[in-house]
Structures are given as structure tokens and as C-alpha cells.
């Protein structure tokens, strides 16, 4: 009896058959990261549908097993453990560095190939990693590029910094300031805020007093557009720039005027190549009526992750160690990014470029420095 209850619970999902290949998807589909989780889920769903429509993995169907971690580090450990117990063949997902830092330990211990698509803290990829791979640029990459851009391309002389005091914002800020020092610059003011803050008057008053010509903003929604709006209301007209937390179409919706000309590093831009454009159009059409509005920049990383997983599952089958070795040797190219030969370094971090974009009107355009 107890057995039936227990197995009944575990059987929830897609009604997977023994010959199907199971892809675990982990993200916060509830809790404060729900909006990001929903976008990732859309990317995964789209990729799986395409792969199955094209004949699956060597004739076997790819099915998804979703684990919601409620955007909570403790829950995310349990969610990953569930995927391990469901005997999924590979895991794609992970949103938020606090969640990934917690749940990757389970994947490492269980020997589960894990492709991280939504967390950028540098500490996620270290020499210790055996099973955890990350396919997006970490905060180091973004912050260094931004510092170079601000000083060398935009010739900013008085740079202020405002960051979320979570691991994402603090990590990016420290690397950014260190790079500025290497370029013989130092910030005129550094401010921080809490993820739940709504009112940024105090920080912005300090920034206004420092009279900057550029402001580095390390954070995510909903604080980012609120800061932009409140800065303009306070009469601050310096240009904002920041890492991929800013590369979210919702920022423009929430701060349509204040976000103009804001610069962000991003994981995707549809104008870089025709394939990217076609993908973005198809994706947007597919999720036009979903509760979560389609956000190509938020969904693309999960979509790429599934394709990378499928690549290796096709090549070497479902033996986990073979999949891991295949990922380690993976070489390829992502649409929507500057062309480069992508591969993993010895910490399982994908060596991947970012695209620099700028808000123009109602969308992002690829950033082109003025001559």
C-alpha cells in the first residue's frame, strides 16, 4: 500500500516509456524567480518539440521531467535529488547562483551531467567540477568587458557603480572595479541595494552628488528599471550600463524612456545572424499567448542547453560518463552571438563571447560605438 503511494507519486510527469530519453529541467517555476523560470521552461519546451518532430534522439523520444525549486536554495537541493532519483539522463537548467551553488553539489555527488543555463557566479565553475557545465559567460567575462567598454570605447572619466548586494551583484561589482583599477581608473561612488528594495532615493542622491558620466548597474529585475526611472526623476542623466541582468526586454517595458541608450552585455541578439532572427520569430510566435510573455533573451540559453545535450546523447547514448566526456570535448557555435569556436575550459566553463547591445526605442540594438 505504502509502496503504491510512493511509486504513484514518483510516476508523475510525462508518462515516460522505458525507451524514452529523459531530460531533467530544473528552475524556479514558483517563488520570486518564477518569471525567469517560465522563460527557461519555454526554451526547453521549444527545443524538445523541435528535436522530437525531427525524429528524436536516434529514433528515441526526448521527454522532459520538470523540477520546480521554488527559487529557494534548500528546495533546489531536493529538486535536483528528485531528478537523480527519476533516473533522468541529463539535467538542463538552473536559475540563480544561490540555487545552482546548492543543487550542483547533488549533481556532482550523483554523477549527473548538468548543463547550467541561468546562473553566472564565477564560483559555479571551478577545477573541482566534473559533472557541472555552464554554457553562459560568467560575471567575470561581463564585468571585464564592461570596464573596457566604459574606459576605452566610451571614454568615461567619472564612473559610479550601483549593485544588488546579492552574490550576483557583489561578484560583478568586485571584478568590475578590479578591472577599472588595471585601467588606472577608480569609481567616483559605489552604492548597493537589497533585491527587495523599491526606493533608491538614498543611493541615487549620493550618485548625483558624485556627478558621474557613466553608471555601472549590476542587478536584475525589478530593481533595475526602478533605478533607471528614479535616476531620471532625480535629474541624473549619465548613461547606464551593466551585465546581462539588464538584457531583458521587460526592462524596456518597465522603463520605456529612462532605459533609452542603456548598454548591456547579452547572451543573444537576433540581428547578429539570420538564424537568430528566424529563431526569435518562431519562438515569439509559439509563446505569443502564454501567461509569461515571450522573452527571447531569457529563453535562448535553455534552448541552446537542450540542443547541446541532444548533440551528445545522439553521439554517445545515455551512459553518463560518456555524455560527460562528450560535453567536455564539445565544439560548436551558437546563433545570435559573435562567431567563435565554442568549447569548455578545464573548469567546465564554456568559452563564449557576449554581445553588447543598447536600448533603442522599444528594443535592443547591437551596440555600435560612435565614430
Amino acid at each position: 500500500m505504502a509502496m503504491a503511494v510512493v511509486t504513484g507519486l514518483l510516476g508523475w510527469g510525462q508518462g515516460a516509456l522505458a525507451q524514452d530519453i529523459k531530460l531533467g529541467m530544473i528552475a524556479g517555476l514558483s517563488g520570486f524567480g518564477a518569471s525567469y523560470g517560465a522563460s527557461m521552461q519555454q526554451g526547453v519546451e521549444m527545443a524538445i518539440k523541435e528535436i522530437n518532430d525531427a525524429g528524436g534522439i536516434n529514433g528515441r523520444k526526448l521527454v522532459e521531467d520538470v523540477a520546480d525549486d521554488a527559487s529557494d536554495p534548500a528546495q533546489s537541493v531536493l529538486a535536483m535529488q528528485r531528478l537523480v532519483n527519476d533516473h533522468v539522463d541529463i539535467v538542463v537548467g538552473g536559475w540563480g547562483s544561490s540555487m545552482v551553488l546548492a543543487n550542483m553539489e547533488v549533481a556532482e555527488r550523483a554523477g549527473m551531467p548538468y548543463i547550467v543555463v541561468g546562473a553566472s557566479n564565477p564560483r559555479i565553475t571551478t577545477k573541482r567540477n566534473k559533472w557541472t557545465f555552464r554554457i553562459l559567460t560568467n560575471d567575470n567575462g561581463h564585468a571585464v568587458q564592461l570596464a573596457d567598454l566604459a574606459v576605452q570605447t566610451l571614454h568615461m572619466k567619472r564612473i559610479a557603480v550601483i549593485n544588488d548586494s546579492n552574490d550576483y551583484g557583489v561578484g560583478a561589482r568586485d571584478i568590475f572595479i578590479a578591472r577599472l583599477k588595471e585601467l588606472d581608473e577608480s569609481p567616483v561612488d559605489v552604492e548597493s541595494y537589497g533585491s527587495n528594495d523599491k526606493d533608491f532615493t538614498a543611493q541615487l542622491s549620493h550618485i548625483a552628488a558624485a556627478n558621474p558620466d557613466g553608471i555601472a548597474l549590476m542587478g536584475t529585475l525589478p530593481a533595475v528599471p526602478a533605478i533607471l526611472n528614479q535616476a531620471r526623476d532625480q535629474g541624473i542623466d549619465a548613461r547606464f550600463f551593466g551585465p546581462a541582468g539588464l538584457s531583458n526586454e521587460a526592462m524596456i517595458t518597465l522603463a520605456p524612456e529612462a532605459s533609452q541608450h542603456t548598454i548591456a552585455t547579452a547572451y543573444f541578439h537576433e540581428d547578429l545572424d539570420p538564424q537568430a532572427k528566424a529563431w526569435a520569430d518562431k519562438y515569439t510566435a509559439m509563446f505569443k499567448n502564454a501567461a509569461q510573455a515571450p522573452r527571447p533573451s531569457q529563453a535562448v540559453s535553455a534552448y541552446r542547453g537542450v540542443y547541446m545535450a541532444a548533440d551528445c546523447l545522439k553521439k554517445v547514448g545515455t551512459d553518463k560518463d560518456k555524455v560527460r566526456l562528450c560535453l567536455k570535448d564539445w565544439h560548436g557555435h551558437f546563433f545570435g552571438l559573435p562567431p567563435a569556436d565554442l568549447h569548455f575550459d578545464d573548469t567546465n566553463q564554456l568559452v563564449v563571447p557576449v554581445v553588447i547591445e543598447e536600448v533603442q526605442g522599444k528594443g535592443f540594438a547591437v551596440f555600435k560605438p560612435a565614430h
Binding site: 505504502a2 514518483l10 520546480d68 553539489e105
Partner: protein
């Protein structure tokens, strides 16, 4: 015999469960320790505390920092975790213990928020928003409890120990004082109960249980982060302590079992999971205001 349910489930679980369900089991067992601790205040001293999650965090951080930074053997970190939670809980909580109910709640919210802010921002001590990683597995005299099953048994033994210890405390003279103070402070005082001392002791005991649970939490996830110990956790533990019925340790255990494993059996509801969870809390309170334990017992009698 419904009160035996948590123990029957705990004993039988390893026979049928895989590692994942054992982890859920460990999680529920750890929560139950902290919830039982909260029971000293809510159930027996008539005080609602919303700082339990923070004190639990103090225990977890003390253990995590001692074993990773000072390479302290895990078992030695247990008394340290308990002591740290008791110190913070009583030093910052006892000035408010004289306050009547509502104001005490408010001051515990303050305490909870202050603990979280310090964990988050005092980076040189706590590693701030990066959290503490690479906590080794719990080991007893060189014997590592690394597998989910071994760790599960450790949690169950801890939880059962804490439960029976709490039963002894509640049945003791001190327990009598607690109930007297909760029922009527004035008449308790006139019959010779030292009211303030009794309440401070209840606070210390509840902090101690939180610290012990936090200690296990550190070895359960082997990663601690300030966001694990927010007001949300305090609210969850408070609902577990009150859901089971007034002054009933058995009720607290059953409530922890029902609510702590909810994330599992509510999974079919997908993104509406938490809506259903809220609905369970609300409907149970509306339909069974005397607690689930009396309600279940009543159900049995009727049948």
C-alpha cells in the same frame, strides 16, 4: 494511535523509499526539531515567535563556519551551534519577553530581520552573499554519514531524541510553570511562579532546539546561504507549530510531516502548488479550528 504516525512513517520509510524520499524525510525530521522548540513558546508560553528561522540560521552558520574555517570536528560544532543560538536568542529576545503577545511578535520579527541582515552583510565573518560551501559530510568518530540513508537515520535519531526530551521538559515542574504563565500570568505570579525567569528559560530552550536543527541543516545541504534563513522560514515553522493543535507535541510532529512534505505530494499542481498549500492551511483552520489531531481523532470516533 494517530500520534504514532510520524514514528511509523519514519521507521518504514527506508524500506520503501529511494534516496530522494529519504532526503525529504531528513528535511522533515530537521524541521520537526526546530518546530518542537518553537512549541515551548507558542504552545506552552503563549508567545508567538517569528525569529525561529533566524536562530536556526545562527546554528547552521556556526556549524558551517566552524567545520570549514576552523576544521572543527562536526560533533564538537553541535554544542557550539546550540550555544550560539541560545546566546543570540536570549540576549536579544529576553528584553522583549515581558511584552504582551503582539509586541513580542513584533520584536521577534525585528530579531529575525536583524539576523538575516547581519548574515548577508557581515561578509568578513559569514562570507556574505556567497554563502559557505564545501561543508564536509557529518561524521561521528571518523564514521562519515555521507549516504542519504545514513544521514536520514541520524536525523531521525536527533528528531526522536528532541521529541522525547521535550516531552520530559513539558511534563516537568518547569512545564507546569509554563502552562501556568500562559494561562494566567497574574495568578501564576501570586502562586509563586517566577514569571520572567520561566519565560526567559522557554526562550532559551526554544533557541537551543533551533540551533540543533540548524546544525543538522548545515550538513544536510552542505551549503548555507543567508536567503535560506529569512522570515519566510520563520513563518513556515510557525505554521507547522500551530497547525497541529494547541499544546500538542504530537500535533506538531504530524503538522511538520504533513506540511514539510507538501512540496512533494503537491507536485502535480505545478505552478499552483503554493496556492494549494495556502488553501490547505486556510481550510484546515476553518474546518478544524481545534487542530488536526483532535479532528482526526474525532473522525475515528465517528466511524
Amino acid at each position: 494511535m494517530i500520534r504514532l504516525l510520524p514514528f511509523v512513517v519514519a521507521a518504514l520509510l527506508p524500506l520503501v523509499a529511494n534516496d530522494y524520499l529519504l532526503e525529504i524525510g531528513s528535511f522533515v525530521a530537521i524541521q520537526s526539531i526546530s518546530v518542537i522548540g518553537l512549541g515551548y513558546l507558542t504552545g506552552f508560553a503563549g508567545r508567538i515567535s517569528l525569529a525561529q528561522g533566524g536562530l536556526y540560521g545562527i546554528g547552521a552558520y556556526t556549524a558551517a563556519l566552524l567545520v570549514t574555517g576552523a576544521h572543527c570536528p562536526p560533533l564538537l560544532a553541535l554544542p557550539a551551534a546550540i550555544l550560539a543560538a541560545v546566546l543570540v536568542g536570549t540576549l536579544l529576545g529576553s528584553p522583549a519577553i515581558r511584552l504582551s503577545g503582539l509586541y513580542f511578535v513584533m520584536s521577534t520579527i525585528g530579531l529575525q530581520q536583524i539576523i538575516w541582515i547581519v548574515l548577508m552583510h557581515w561578509s568578513s565573518l559569514t562570507n556574505g552573499p556567497m554563502g559557505v560551501r564545501e561543508i564536509p559530510p557529518l561524521s561521528v568518530a571518523g564514521f562519515a554519514l555521507a549516504s542519504p540513508e545514513r544521514f536520514y537515520w541520524a536525523c531521525v535519531v536527533f528528531a526522536a531524541g528532541s521529541f522525547f526530551l521535550a516531552r520530559r521538559v513539558v511534563a516537568s515542574r518547569f512545564g507546569l510553570f509554563l502552562r501556568a504563565v500562559s494561562d494566567d500570568e497574574l495568578s501564576a505570579a501570586t502562586s509563586g511562579v517566577r514569571v520572567v525567569r520561566t519565560k526567559v528559560l522557554a526562550l532559551a530552550l526554544s533557541s537551543a532546539w533551533a540551533g540543533a536543527a540548524g546544525f543538522l541543516h548545515a550538513f544536510f545541504l552542505r551549503f548555507v546561504h543567508p536567503d535560506m534563513f529569512t522570515l519566510d522560514l520563520s513563518v513556515v515553522q510557525l505554521t507547522m507549530a500551530m497547525f497541529g493543535g494547541y499544546r500538542s507535541l504530537d500535533g506538531m510532529m504530524i503538522a511538520t510531516l504533513i506540511l514539510g512534505s507538501a512540496s512533494e505530494y503537491l507536485r502535480p499542481f505545478g505552478q499552483f502548488r503554493l496556492v494549494v498549500y495556502g488553501g490547505i492551511l486556510l481550510l484546515t483552520m476553518m474546518l478544524a479550528p481545534r487542530g488536526i489531531l483532535p479532528a482526526l481523532a474525532g473522525l475515528r470516533r465517528r466511524r
